[in-house]
Amino acid sequence: MATVTGLPEHHVAHHFDSAEQEFDSAKTGMWLFLASEIMMFGALFVGALLFHTLHHGGFAEGSAHLDWRFGAVNTFFLLTAGLTMGLAVVSAQAGEQGKVRMNLILSLVFAAGFLVTKSLEYAQKFEHGTLPGRLWHAHHGFSDPFSHVFFGFYFVMTGLHAVHVLVGMGLMIFALIRSSRVQFSRSYFTPIEMVAIYWALVDLVWVFLFPLLYLIR
């Protein structure tokens, strides 16, 4: 049923008392999910920091073989996608459906840019043979026996992060489809805000991954 503004009226699910309660429930669920994500990445960060301390030479050598410019470009892509996702929420709260769609499309473009850059970087690593563990076949430029451990962390952490970027893109497409069907309004924009919060987590993880892997020697 459309309202006088042309936007659909949101019907609160029968097990909720109000739209506010429905929104709060969704948000609580989202935060619980994010807590589990932080636990997963937190364990990896602790492991990486520990090995960085134990085998400083190998990690410094590995880090020196990463091109910080790839990381900088990816930081730009991710942060800009975070901006456009934030603006999508602002637009959704203002009931501006056209701007919501535009911001979601821009977020998708920047997220895709991140993945393209990451794949270029991975291709370089495959070519050089700087792969984790027994897959390692780099022939020169390394003297520390623990350099391959650095690349183990590099591939696991950035790979897992890239999977999250892919999932985020899927969620953006989902929100875009629903937005094009005019299923959001000023009183119901929960999916867009949840996707934005999820994307902020992707940003948050990268904000620590970038210096840990690319910048610290």
């Binding site: 134990l54 900088a72 942060l79 897959l135 780099a138 026996p145 451990v149 000023r186 210096p211 610290i216």
Partner: protein, 231 residues
């Protein structure tokens, strides 16, 4: 400023744009710090590398706070939620650090075989070693052939890995299942292997420390020196 017609809290447009600009500036600061050649500053009495690392990670922390406050909306949430998230983060961090410390400090003490499972040889060949191997062997040596030098070492009796003073069952076990190639021989415990028994002194070929092995600190004395010499 809270619009009561909205479920949840309003995301101010200025805060979103402002946090984006701040994040870009802080990212640039982080990169700038990492490119700084601190050795040229000539300050020896300070560990400038450690200070730089702290500054970079501190900048990352500020960026993380901005993301969680303004892009995740924690700035607009209740104090209870913020406190829960803040405290639970530290609880999880404590758990992770505690378990990692226990693992690296006491690895192998409960189950020595665990040490052997993870104590494998690094695939990284130092450049100097590669060069020496390149002089000694043709570059086209296949991986299968590379195993040959290790296999060609003089074969020792299988029970040479068993120290005097060990129970007879252990000796019997080593005789039956023990590897004939000393390069593949695994001690029951790396610490024991690196410290020959004072009572017996029976370890004729004490293994040399092997920095190329993976594992916990202190587990660098594994005799599993199977890394062939170079490609």
């Amino acid at each position: 400023m809270h619009d009561t017609s909205l479920p949840g809290h309003e995301f101010p447009k200025g805060a979103v744009i402002g946090s984006y600009v701040a994040l870009l500036i802080l990212a640039a600061v982080m990169i700038g710090l990492s490119q700084l050649d601190v050795d040229k500053l000539g300050i020896d009495w300070l560990n400038l590398h450690a200070i730089r690392t702290t500054l970079i990670m501190g900048t990352a922390l500020i960026m993380g706070i901005i993301v969680s406050m303004f892009l995740m909306g924690l700035r607009y949430e209740s104090k209870l939620l913020n406190l829960t998230i803040f405290l639970s983060n530290f609880v999880f961090l404590l758990i992770f650090v505690l378990f990692t410390w226990v693992d690296t400090s006491f690895r192998g003490e409960v189950d020595p075989t665990f040490n052997e499972k993870i104590n494998w040889t690094s695939p990284v060949k130092p450049e100097a070693e590669e060069h020496a191997a390149g002089v000694a062997a043709p570059a086209s040596t296949s991986p299968a052939v590379q195993e040959a030098p290790a296999a060609a070492q003089p074969v020792q009796p299988a029970d040479s890995t068993v120290q005097k003073g060990q129970p007879p069952e252990a000796k019997e076990h080593a005789t039956v299942t023990g590897p004939t190639n000393p390069a593949q021989a695994q001690p029951e415990h790396p610490d024991k292997a690196s410290k020959p028994s004072k009572a017996s002194g029976a370890q004729k070929n004490p293994p040399s420390p092997n920095p190329a092995t993976m594992g916990a600190p202190g587990n660098t004395a594994s005799p599993k020196q199977t890394a062939p010499a170079g490609h």
